[in-house]
Every structure is written in structure tokens, then in C-alpha cells.
Symmetry: C2
Subunit: 215 residues, 2 copies
């Protein structure tokens, strides 16, 4: 039986649509009354694991799910051993550096060395600041990162920005972009190698309906 | 101005009650319509930061909050430099090892060496399994850890258990307990050392109304 890992939250509806086009109907997970975390497809030949964003690449890397859909932001932060197969185009947002709009900084290289940077994505932030040779102290927060500069715990933040509304409401402004993130179809590499064609067929169908590919 | 860090979620109501008894009224954070993450007290001499559980010790360790209330589970996992002052008694739950009820394991030492253990609290789990000299592979998950044994990603989990309902619903059973967790009043150590009496007065009032103390 094919197992796919789906992320709860913003990506769920589009993820279900993509798998439906490949013949796997998991629309039951979208029912408001659904409490199940393991949901069989209507055809009965697959099941979906409904997990948190950050856990999708974990289930796929350990082979407990053959396929999964998750944001590039999570893939980049987690660095798990998964095959990043298709850029699905939806769920677009920027991973950005932001500061108080009154701070005067115009780009990340202007930040003072050894300043504090708060983020949920400290691995992404570390690589970015290493890349521009700016030593910073990273403060790992798990939510409401926009509070960082307001409370003074950090001079800058690295966070996902979709519309920019949260930043504006908190008097923050983007000064640099790490990358643009979209939803990706990922697979367990060994399952793909040992596949008898069923997985590849799903991947091919989803890929053919997407504008661009990571391959 | 005194700043306190309060955890969103299950501990919030009782936390507000304790600070109210010490003269700091943050009941505005309990209003369903409240969207503010920084809320002044009614008296105007303090403000509350409304943050996620795991971020309370971070804000206190960095001195952006002088005091905070957070579960011992989070303190134990995060190991930040904060003063653990008062056991407030509420928010009680067990940090437990659980397995499939059909597995036959009766205690953690019976688990096979190098088995996989899934948890949100991998630091707590690591210390526990090191303490019983059982090498295990830890799988960090961010939610729905009870799925671990059902999907096969792990043979055991380490997770918080309050009523045990989630475990029962998923066919799991507790076989060992790491510790019992309750809400704690914590403080920024340096703020407490440099305090002119105001912080200590709040701590003393809250402590006098609690059954037991960590000191």
C-alpha cells in the first residue's frame, strides 16, 4: 500500500487536489469533522498520514511514507534524506530577513556583527549569515517571531513572509531574502529505486500537471 | 517596568490568576478577542508577553522577561539559564514512555537496544535512556507523536500524558515515567540579583500561595 504524508494547515487543500489528479482521493482529510490522522484513499490502495509540516520530511526520510508534500522552507531547515522531485508552485512565500522599520538597516550585511537574530528557521538563518560572512547569535523561537525586535530579544528576524501584513502590523520591514519557498513533492529515495512503477506513475502525473520541476 | 512571559494554551488561565493575586492583572489576555502579544497590566507597572510554551524560558533567559510561568517539561527540555523558583502545582502531567499495548513490553529497559523512540522532547528522552544505559535512536517529531508506533517509525514514544485518553485511543500503554511535570514560576537570574525588591515581592506573594516550592 502506498503511504503519503500530508502537512496539516495551509498546504493541505492543494495537496489533496494534486493527489486526486493522480488517482488518490484523500478528500476525507478536509472534512471539518475528521479526527483521524491515518486516512485511507477512496480507492483503498493508499493511505495518508496527516502530520505537522515539519514532520512530513521525517516520515518520508524514514520510509514510513513513500511520498509527501511539504514546503521548501521546511525541507531546507530539516535537511533530511529525501528526494525533492517536483516544484508544485503553490504555497509561495519568501524566507526573509526583517528588522524594525526605524532601525535604518537596508540589507543584512549592514547588521552589526554578533547581533542577535531570532528565527524558527535557525538552520536556514545560520547558512545565510555564514554565506555573507556575518557572525550573528541565533535565538531559536517556536512562534510569533515578529515579537523579537519589539521585545529587544533580537535586532533582526528570519521568517516566512507571504503577504507582509504581519511585518507591517509590527513595524517591521524586509531587508533581504534567503529564498522563495513553494510546496514540493518529495519521496523516500529507496522506495523510488525499488518501485515497480506505481509510485513513478503518481509522480509523473503530478509532475505533468505542474509548471516547473526540480529535476 | 516588570515584564512577564506567559505561555499560550493550557497554562494561561491559571498563570493569569497567580499574577493577579500578586497585584498584576493581565486578564485582558484571556479575552477571546485579544490579538495583542504584548499586554499591559491594569495597574500599568507591568506588561505580559504572550508567547508559545517553548519560548517562555528563552525570553526569561535573555532577560527580555523578568518572570515567567512554564511547565517543568519545557524547562527540562530547553535547559536554559533561568531560576526555577516556585512549583505552582497546576498543569500536572506525566512525561512517560509508551508503547503499543500489543508489544508486550512492561518497562523501558525491556526495549530492544537501538530501537527507535519518537518524541517532541528528545533531550529529555536522551537523558532518560542514557540513564538506563539503553542506546536508542531518537526521532524528533513536532506533533501527534502517538502516530509513531502506529506507523512503525518508532517502537516507543516519550510524550506528555495527562488523562491517558490519547494513548488509549491509539492502542498505546505507558510503561515508564521520566518525571511528573507542573507549572513553574521562573525568573531571569541577573534581574533577581539586581532587584530592588519589586520582583521579590511578586515572587514571595506567588510562593506563599503555592503548596510547595522548588527552593
Amino acid at each position: 500500500m502506498i503511504t503519503v504524508a500530508l502537512a496539516k494547515g495551509a498546504l493541505l487543500k492543494d495537496s489533496v487536489t494534486r493527489f486526486a489528479k493522480a488517482g488518490l482521493d484523500f478528500s476525507a482529510v478536509l472534512e471539518p469533522s475528521n479526527r483521524l490522522l491515518m486516512v485511507p484513499s477512496v480507492c483503498g490502495r493508499a493511505k495518508a498520514l496527516l502530520v505537522r509540516n515539519g514532520d512530513v520530511p521525517v516520515y518520508v526520510a524514514y520510509g514510513q511514507a513513500h511520498l509527501g508534500i511539504v514546503g521548501f522552507d521546511v525541507l531546507s531547515e530539516k535537511q533530511m534524506q529525501v528526494a525533492n522531485l517536483v516544484d508544485l508552485g503553490f504555497g509561495g512565500c519568501r524566507m526573509s530577513v526583517a528588522v524594525k522599520s526605524t532601525s535604518g538597516y537596508k540589507s543584512a550585511v549592514e547588521l552589526p556583527p554578533h547581533c542577535r537574530v531570532a528565527s524558527k528557521f535557525t538552520n536556514c538563518a545560520r547558512r545565510f549569515f555564514e554565506g555573507i560572512d556575518l557572525p550573528v547569535e541565533l535565538v531559536h523561537l517556536t512562534g510569533s517571531v515578529e515579537l523579537g525586535p519589539l521585545t529587544g530579544i533580537a535586532e533582526a528576524i528570519v521568517d516566512l513572509v507571504a503577504t507582509g501584513r504581519t511585518l507591517r502590523e509590527n513595524g517591521l520591514v524586509e531587508i533581504d531574502q534567503l529564498f522563495y519557498s513553494t510546496a514540493r513533492l518529495i519521496a523516500h529515495p529507496l522506495s523510488l529505486r525499488l518501485d515497480n512503477g506505481k509510485l513513478q506513475q503518481i509522480v509523473d502525473t503530478i509532475q505533468s500537471q505542474s509548471d516547473s520541476s526540480c529535476l
